[in-house]
Symmetry: T
Subunit: 146 residues, 12 copies
């Protein structure tokens, strides 16, 4: 198993399953991570996870991932809409990057309709709940093959 990917969860996602279940479902972040590890085994991918509420720490982690990973899956949560600095950090990477959103961001407040990173990632998946992360793994898998 020599493909390694990193999954970054943005602010407040550590509270998943405890907050606004109408938007995000009842699964916790740990449960989602377990499913991804599981699927990783099938796809031959090792999956590491990182969560932080701090924009700067997320940037630190993206920078340190430059040569360590074959792909990145990121759900920047609220920072999706405000962080130009995370966008700049993502530009450092040359591996595939997939943006995931649990909820359909287009069904929510208008300020959630614009993503600061959408135009610097490979692609975006939104609205499929925790399943979106698994689809993202398939997408990374396919991007690495082509």
């Amino acid at each position: 198993m020599d493909v390694k990917i990193l999954v970054i969860h943005g602010p407040n996602l550590n509270m998943l399953g405890k907050r606004e279940p109408g938007h995000y479902g009842t699964e916790t972040m740990d449960e989602i991570n377990r499913q991804m590890t599981q699927k990783g085994l099938q796809l031959g991918m090792k999956v590491d996870f990182y969560q932080s509420n701090c924009e700067g720490q997320i940037i630190d982690r993206i920078q340190s991932a430059c040569d360590q990973y074959n792909g990145l899956i990121i759900n920047p949560a609220a920072y999706t809409h405000t962080s130009l600095a995370i966008r700049d950090a993502l530009l450092l990477l040359s591996c595939p990057v997939v943006e995931v959103h649990l909820s359909n961001i287009y069904q929510r407040e208008s300020f959630r309709r614009h993503s600061m990173i959408a135009d610097v990632v490979s692609g975006q998946i939104s609205g499929f709940g925790s399943n979106g992360y698994l689809l993202a793994m398939d997408a990374v898998f396919q991007l690495l093959r082509s």
Copy 2:
């Protein structure tokens, strides 16, 4: 095999593989459809296809799909950004609807950043080329199970 889904391709997608390969790749629509049929066999899904350049005909087809299909995958192409009427037609459906875009629409002209249907579908997948359609099939599959 009793799950049936419909795939609708919007205007100019019949020309795929012949046009702007930088944005859309070199596969033709027929090749993509064959891959979906193939994957349908694995998932136990029958897949029907429809393409039209005419907004009205796409609406006709969506309406007639109301009771015939368990899921809809739609790439409205240019109508994504201009057709309020297709949006209204989608509101008639109660089955899962997934919006797919071949290219990352956020890397293109600004008028392609806004989707008229994003907030009335289950979720959106963009930027993964023809693989996006296959991911959408997984997404529909999962939505029907939950």
Copy 3:
């Protein structure tokens, strides 16, 4: 009975009674048409009906109505907000034209607040459900008398 009017129903109105009853009520388009025919008998008006989901066909129909009808009642549905071409077609007519909306378009999404045709018709009636069509017939009747 020598007054003839044409009623044009825009996209998705053929699905009336089957869709979003909160907005549009439970009557079908055929039931509404029957009421109009009925009222036409009282007012001495022959009423023809046309529905299409296709912008181009609606334009064809408006053009062919130029010399055949004494009045036009039109509910362009979603095309109200996007079709400059229907607006241009209406400019061809010299008879009274009344714009009808079943729901109060001002209570809905913001993009439904602007009508592309409002400033080229005689007047607008919105928010009274199917009764709006009957009021429109009275309005045409009165416009023809004055």
Copy 4:
């Protein structure tokens, strides 16, 4: 005759027939009121009238109408476009409210295209001259029956 409705005319409508006949016709407010009284007799409706140039007095009148009337017809004239306070007053009523405009407000200056009250009334009728008031009576009549 136990149905009572109130008709409120906004600022400058007392000058009807004396001003800008291109926009508003040559009928005076009293003549319009007489026609409404007449039609009220046919429909079994008693009609009261009120005109004021003062936003505050119009609000006073709407408030006092809360339990006295079965329906309200209002043409707020210039206050249509500027008065949030009249909007708030209308929210106090639970009976049907119909907004009427003599001219087609969409054919005039752009600042007349937006109504502050359109989304809190039952429906809107504009562009039919004084006949609009009579149509509004039919609309109220129908709303009370359903």
Copy 5:
């Protein structure tokens, strides 16, 4: 002396000389009126004055002025920027109307830069303090002569 003009002072102008002297100087409204009366004697003009804080009363006064005066000088103060109803009332008049502002409204908050009545009056004079009223009298005088 058979030329009669009306001068209307808008809201808060009755407090002139007591308020924000940086913007409006130290003269009171009565002192200004006296100067106008004086100048009226020279020009052969009888000058009447009216002040109100109430939009509706100002409209009442404009309406009643229709046939009584040969000219109107109006400083609508804050209503300059918000009252569409006063604008509508001014459209009733056929005599010359001059808009006056004591302060240079372009040196103040941005929301004071737009006048709702500027395009329906004969002309506008702003920034000359109380002298602006006297200039307005000359302007009316000249407009009546030509």
Copy 6:
């Protein structure tokens, strides 16, 4: 007891307790006023009350308060968002002025998010229902002491 404050309630607040309880609670204006009188006794403040639906009358009252009161508490209701003339009147006062809103205006329609007077008052309290008025009394009390 030699501190006197004036409380001004804007349009439609006389209907409190009868209207939209979701937004404004079930207390009437009189009950709120009684609580303020009560609290005034504790703080050594005499409290006078004024309500009007008329912008002009509210301005009259503010002007007449210039030298009579040590503080002003004002809830301009709908006029908060539209009245430049009330803003101008408040500029006449040199005593503390506190703006109160019963509901959290930021949770309502977007046009209620902007206050025309917020930048000319001492401070603003919103979202605490009738308790906001009592907090405002404490605020005035403290402003007078410092």
Copy 7:
């Protein structure tokens, strides 16, 4: 004669000569086409014509023109301002494309000032009435020579 060009007329242009002569002159579409055929004979160009009111059919026609024509002259009429799908279709062509407008679109309503296709065609000619089509033929001729 081995140069072939296609001329596409958009919605309502089939009514030329019957509608708004102030904007479009009195010539019919057939008369214009005859002039173009005539001029084609001089330039050694065969000219085919197509008119449709339907966006989808225009797209069909553009697609089928991909390998058949040496040049395209298009007046998309109202679709100029709303059709992203026609724009996408034009991107399929590699031959010269010239956009023509009969009237000076900059002298009309503001929503006619923006062309969705202007930046994907070779050039634009507007305001010269039917002569604009003949100038466009010269332009295509010259573009093919250089």
Copy 8:
């Protein structure tokens, strides 16, 4: 006669009387200048005149006026709306500056409603035709006295 003022006419005003008489009347610039000279004799003012179509020359003239004149009357015509450089030049002057417009600029195209210099001059007079210049002389006279 020791008061000297300068009058600057902006671009195209040298063509007055020959152009668009609907907007600017039939008097020529020379005739207007003669009236001002005449009025200057009465007021004890020497009046110099300058006209140029060139923004830079107008700036040169304003600069050279710094210590030579007691007042400036300027009608920057089209430069009113575009010239930040003339605005900067006017800031060099410490004498009264009056902005004059022949036509009521608020009755014309929307881009004429904004003046780049209005907030750096003493006051503005617009809409009174050539009489506006004479009023401006009175205004300067009065500003010099106070």
Copy 9:
């Protein structure tokens, strides 16, 4: 004493009393905290304090407060206007949350007029200096009682 509240001070508030006294007064954060502790004793509230310049740490603290406190008072300072992530964190809480601003944010730069959290808190108090925190304690007290 079993009611516990948390007070969160945003970026740069640790410098209070050392910075821009014109906006924020001369009291230090510690002095304000002492006053709140004092008032807490009177109201039977234990008050904890937290200050950070780091958005992420503030989010961490809000999250950890979920089950520990009965109320939250927050002055997010500059993050008020930019932090969607703090807004999301506040949505996790079910206890009363009061937003406090020392200065009247409406009298400052325009980008300080919009609060990202105002519509997800119970209410807002701004402009009363350090006294605003004490008023907020009363507000929380009252919200907990009702």
Copy 10:
């Protein structure tokens, strides 16, 4: 040969052929002028040329052309997008005026999409390089004949 036309080249066009050939080709202004002179001989038109970098001189030249020429062809280059004064000058002419742009201005920076003169000229030709001037001569020729 009694038809005379004037061709005006705006700022920097004297550098044609030396600058940004990607946008403007390699022909010099003199070469273009020679082609026009040549074509003028065929059409029976005498062609004069004028180039200036100065807005004011261009206006001077337009003014002096009033009675001397039968048509004007103008490429105002950068002034197209900023000069209201040139627009005003063009309004002085009663002969046909054709606006030419070498490059397709719609394919360049967004601020080049708006022409200040487009709505006061007869028509516009853009995107055909130097051939655009020759087409403009045909257009003028045709406009003079009709």
Copy 11:
């Protein structure tokens, strides 16, 4: 000494030291030029100077500089914000161009925050008074070396 640079001062800069010293300091343009000449001697640069109030003359000078200078330092003053034509002229140059502003343009009126030339120059220096010109010389020096 074979490096030659040109320094262009825009409109009103010839008045430096005489105008708004709060913004621009008390040094005159000649004094600044002398300092630059002085520094040029140290750096081995010959420095020529040009000032004009006329946009067209500045363009002429830029054009004539094309082959004569190794670098350009330009402070376009007010034309910074309005002149698209100067921007076009600068595109003709291939040598380094440095934009200088004496004052910090971001601390002034909002319309001074946008520079029309910033994206076509090498770099920008603003806010350091006359020292900015000397820094620009260093910058040019360094750009020529690399």
Copy 12:
């Protein structure tokens, strides 16, 4: 050597030389710092350096610099455009602050054209690569002397 300055590098600048060399060159941050230390020796300035990806830590550092340094040079990178909190921190300083950008921010994405701190610093230098830091040192040096 008793002058001390602090240099703050914002997010992702620690990756300089490894990322997007087209925008930022190939020098690393350490190489740039060494050049600054070197130049500091010449100017008699001790230079300290700080880099962080975390907005909060940058604020901490600025605060702690209040009394320790004679000048600050800051390149806030992505936070330039989003951080109001850094702006607030800079307001705490009374020493000169110079804003530096390696690339010409006006040649990049539009959201990089606005700096949140530009109006609270002494001046701004952008577009000169690493040399910009050295110019900034000269600027600080000069500001400290005057």
